[in-house]
Symmetry: C2
Subunit: 353 residues, 2 copies
């Protein structure tokens, strides 16, 4: 190396160091954001548990966990958005109760989308929450954000709780409003008038309102906020998924919103065991979790998780399954694996139920 070359090399090294330090700061910010998100979720969990005790016996639930890293591999914000839309659609088609997005640990440096400010996992959480929210509540619940730029391209989820203005439904999603709390709380449920509920609730909270069959929209008819699962339990209709952020794979298992945790945890992988769907017998469950890895699979997520040090897939998962043997492509993408595997599990889940 001549002196000129050496100088260039030194400058490059300094530049790399600077970038690395910046990235570290960014990822610290992201980790902090993630921690805040996890804390908020814990709060919500406690609220939900309060509701749970009051409500009737719950139906068995199915949760899916998805690696947020799939977003980091998308080529553009638009493609990342479309990918997130596919995940949301798959969860809805198969009536999934909870979607957990797990981050890479340590948080991936300069995580892909939008200047590395938000990791792929945080991005996916945002889009999933946005899409699950009925259209008429989005403006109130989601402040403008650059990562929502392309959501207009996405096909709607068309879930039963995404009601139009003229549709009557025994339950309706709403958001609590500001104003006089002397008689209860006004809620915007996407109808021509806001409705009154008896509970005193802070404004800006998403709630499920039992609308009943009385179509009187004056405040003379006082309604009630109920647990979001009431519609599913009483009417059997799917009422959307909850979204949860986990900073790594072990966070998926540990911070379950269900007091009793998950009964069985299934991992999906082309390295998993091949059992035909008709021959798979799942024990009965209250809370089932099915995990999907990213580009490098769940093995990679285990390896990079310090809480799972030395563990292998068979230690972590109750079942580790290959749901698509004889695949004609060398790879199955996570968004494809979701539809393929959730269809595979339909019958075993029904039989276990």
């Amino acid at each position: 190396m001549n002196p000129a070359e050496a100088e260039v090399a030194a400058a490059r090294k300094a530049q790399r160091k600077k970038e690395k330090s910046k990235k570290r700061k960014d990822s610290a910010a992201t980790a902090e954001e993630g921690a805040i998100h996890e804390k908020k979720q814990k709060q919500r969990k406690e609220e939900d548990e309060g509701e749970e005790q009051a409500g009737p016996k719950r139906k068995p639930t199915v949760s899916i966990a998805v690696a947020g890293s799939i977003i980091d591999n998308a080529q553009s914000l638009e493609l990342a958005t479309l990918l997130a839309g596919q995940i949301a659609r798959a969860a809805t088609v198969f009536r999934i109760d909870e979607v957990i997005v797990f981050d890479s640990s340590p948080v991936v440096e300069n995580g892909g989308v939008g200047d590395g400010e938000e990791s792929g996992a945080m991005f996916l959480v945002r889009i999933l929450e946005y899409l699950e929210t009925p259209q008429y509540l989005r403006r109130r619940l989601f402040p403008m954000h650059k990562n929502l730029k392309f959501v207009g391209l996405l096909p709607p989820l068309d879930a039963p709780h995404h009601l139009r203005k003229h549709e009557w439904s025994v339950f309706r999603e709403g958001v609590t409003l500001e104003g006089d709390r002397s008689k209860g709380t006004l809620v915007d449920v996407g109808l021509s008038k806001n409705v009154l509920v008896e509970q005193i609730l802070e404004p800006g909270k998403r709630v499920t309102v039992a609308m009943g069959t009385n179509r009187d929209l004056t405040t003379a008819c006082v309604r009630k906020v109920v647990s979001p699962s009431t519609s599913t339990e009483e009417m059997g209709s799917y009422w959307g998924y909850k979204v949860r952020y986990a900073s790594n794979l072990s966070g998926v298992f540990k911070n379950s919103p269900f007091e009793e945790g998950y009964d069985h945890i299934i991992g999906t992988s082309e390295h998993g065991e091949t059992i035909s769907s008709s021959e798979l017998t799942l024990p009965s469950f209250r809370h089932l979790l099915i995990a999907f890895g990213g580009l490098a699979g769940l093995e990679e997520s285990i390896e990079e998780d310090t809480n799972l040090k030395g563990k292998r897939a068979n230690d972590v998962f109750t079942y580790y399954l290959n749901t698509c043997p004889n695949q004609g492509s060398r790879t199955i993408r996570t968004e494809e694996a979701l539809l393929i595997s959730l269809q595979y599990f339909q019958e075993p889940i029904r039989r276990a139920g």
Copy 2:
């Protein structure tokens, strides 16, 4: 209506008439293009049959038919391209032998993508063919076309016949080249040198070359062109899908590349019968066809097909099945239905085989 309004209305009417006549011309052009495409396919079919007689007994095949109208509903060329990519991926993952894209009949007016010059079905055919072709042959086989503008965004199919330059394989896809025909034909198979095959073939034709295990790439080693299905039959590896255009649904059934036609034709629809995958018994078959409708379903495709006048789904299909009961979304998109249904049919197909 006052006189001014009447004038405006008359002008609008004239404009609409003009547009309609233009559209009619466009759709005539598209229909003609479609007819040429169908004729070419017939030619190819005859060639294939020639090959078929010489080859060993063929494996059972699975074909899928997809409504081209799904492309017309895409919001942009980019989204249409991504959708086509999803269809190609689904076909590859499930080792589909033939993808038939059926147009609307009469050809849909101003069919969506790219100034209405090409119907959604023709567009889908082009992208499917492009993606199925190994990367190293695309430049020779696909002239530049504006509808290929966004193919760079698509994830690769990663099929076994999509080989890299350094990979050796007993079979390899190639394209015949110009030049001296005295000793045979030179073929570009994507290796560092072109190889010589004994057959005298016209240039620019896609062929499958039996490369064997002798890695001699000089013209001293003369190879042979074989039927594309040879690799599947001898090695069991998936070797891509063929693509066929049909001007309407009945064209899917009538112009089968298999002399004996399709043994069973399955239609998928949310109005179909609900049978669980484990309980579905398909009779054994040589050629199975599974059809997927567009936004309005297969019923609509039957209704608009003059050759199927007065027929109902149960008259047209051997089985008419709902492969995803209890769906949590009001709609299942065709690209989702492909993965869901092909997974559903995996076991019944294996049992029938």
